[in-house]
């Protein structure tokens, strides 16, 4: 009887230990790994933005083209817009950059302005630099043009 009691106690202790290890995450896997809330995970390595590349092909219709170069220190604020110092209609020929699309001259109400519309002034809201990274979760995305084929 004593032995059985001990065995039961041991079993209970083991299972409770196992339960503690499991229960914190509930077996759930998140992007930060299967760790309890108060446990730290190792920070993922920092990615470096791709350096100078040729313009990158768009993945779908209406996609804002991505930025094929680094943009460290490029400020876009009330005083200056570093992007426009190459990509504006005044400067694109000399710099050899892609010019800003004409759609960016339209206001929300559809009025065409003589220069970039204020709502399109902050380039990095849509256009972003690229880094080589593995997808965090599986992705079966297909562009609409591929589906249409």
């Amino acid at each position: 009887m004593k032995k059985i009691g001990l065995a039961v106690a041991l079993l209970a202790a083991c299972s409770s230990l196992a339960w503690v290890a499991q229960a914190d995450t509930g077996g759930m896997k998140s992007l930060r790994g299967a760790k309890a809330l108060d446990e730290g995970t190792r920070a993922p390595a920092m990615y470096k933005f791709n350096k100078d590349e040729e313009p990158i092909k768009r993945n779908y219709v209406q996609q804002p083209p991505v930025i094929p170069h680094t943009i460290r220190g490029y400020r876009v604020d009330l005083n200056s817009n570093k992007c426009l110092s190459c990509h504006s209609w005044d400067n694109y020929k000399e710099s050899g950059a892609t010019k800003v699309s004409l759609t960016h001259f339209n206001t929300r109400g559809g009025h065409a302005l003589a220069d970039i519309s204020p709502r399109r002034y902050f380039c990095l809201q849509c256009h972003v630099p690229q880094a080589v990274t593995a997808p965090l979760i599986e992705n079966e995305y297909q562009s609409s043009t591929e589906i249409g084929r």
Binding site: D52, E54, H69, G73, N79, S80, N91
Partner: protein, 199 residues
Amino acid sequence: MGDQPKGLFARYWAMLTTPAKTAMGGILVGGFIAGVVFWGGFNTALEVTNTEEFCISCHEMRDNVYQELKETIHYSNRSGVRATCPDCHVPKEWTYKIIRKIQASKEVWGKITGIVDTPEKFDAHRREMADREWARMKANDSRECRNCHDFQSMDYSEQGRRSVKQHQDALATGQKTCIDCHKGIAHQLPDMKGVEGWD
């Protein structure tokens, strides 16, 4: 001739042309030592004003432009080689350095009158100060950039596509100098209205 009374001019002339031998030696030796001390002291003091610690001992520099510099590649980068304030703002060559230092004495007046002693006042004067530095760099063909960035040592094969184009087309032909394109690389830009290539 010796007994002949001399005129005032002649007596002074004799006094100046025949100094006592010991006095002459004293003047020479003493003057030499004093020269070494004063010249050395002058240059030492000059070099003290050519350090970053000296620049940021005033809050105008420490709280505005120095904080902006810290975010840029001239302060923070992979290899830890960095530029300090005088590397860009004070010429290395002695003659130009002295000229710049004399011009900079105006900044002492600015400090006393507190012309840029708040961030708001600094921003209000930012364009004026930036214009002055751009003009200086443009006039001396970006000499202070070239103290470190030697055009002869630039390897196009190591540069980005965009850099090669600009450096081959504009810099190599002398059409443009560094500061024409590289504005605001170490500090935040002022309102760029009317600046060529920005407006």
